[in-house]
């Protein structure tokens, strides 16, 4: 079974600065996807960024980028130019392979990290 570990329960960043959230995972699969989800106080789960394991290039979405180290099974999220609206719980999540039917396509989440942004 796959596991996702987020060892930092909380982090804090100054507005406009950069912060990196860590995530490691364990799997024996070679084909999988990794995601970062944001959960603000509203509790809505919002997809921030995704990474395909077969891609060597790190994904980037505006101020959000990842550092994907497949051999080390590490998947960190970098938030640049932090904004007050970035304050939320961030979950790292794993999904198996490219399956279409829904089997083995569930998300396995880490415990999450609470990010606070200081004005």
């Amino acid at each position: 079974a796959q596991t996702v570990t987020q060892s930092q329960p909380e982090m804090s960043v100054q507005e406009a600065e950069t912060v990196t959230l860590s995530c490691t995972y364990d799997t024996s699969e070679s084909d999988y996807y990794l995601f970062w989800y944001k959960q603000p106080p509203s509790r809505q789960m919002i997809l921030v960024i995704r990474q395909e394991a077969y891609k060597q290039q790190n994904a980037t979405e505006n101020r959000f980028s990842v550092n994907f180290q497949k051999a080390a099974k590490s998947f960190s999220l970098k938030i640049s130019d932090s904004q007050l609206g970035d304050a939320a719980m961030y979950f790292c999540a794993y999904r198996s392979g490219p399956g279409v039917t829904g089997a083995n396509s569930k998300l396995t989440f880490g415990k999450g990290i609470t990010l606070s942004v200081r004005p």
Binding site: M45, L47, R50, F91, R95, V100, T101, A103, K106, F109
Partner: protein, 114 residues
């Protein structure tokens, strides 16, 4: 753009009662997932459906059952409710098209069992 709809948004029940949670996926999405998020916890996968058939099962108690209907909406039925069932229940949907892996989450149903 249309999003995943969940109803009700809030539900209060007594112990041993029954609850039904509903999920309406994004149009043309044929896969539905249910997750349970306890207070201060990460979401835990319960069950999923693809084309109206159960496709995967996680840590769903035997007291819970679910199904996906012909219009692709899904219902999670919970019986003999326990205090520990109090949680936020998310539904997520996805299109089964190859390469489309993102799951889009609904706003959740907050269930409180007294």
């Amino acid at each position: 753009a249309a999003g995943v709809i969940q109803s009700p948004r809030h539900l209060i029940k007594e112990k041993r009662e029954t609850a039904t949670l509903k999920c309406y996926p994004i149009p043309r999405h044929d896969t539905v997932y249910w997750y349970q998020q306890g207070p201060g916890q990460d979401p835990q996968f319960l069950i999923s459906f693809y084309e109206k058939m159960q496709s995967d099962k996680g840590s769903i108690p035997d007291r819970f059952s679910a199904q996906q209907f012909s219009d692709y909406h899904s219902e999670l039925n919970m019986s003999s409710l326990e205090l520990g069932d109090s949680a936020l229940y998310f539904c997520a949907s996805r299109t089964g098209t190859s390469g489309k892996v993102e799951q889009f989450f609904g706003p959740g149903t907050r269930l409180t069992v007294l």
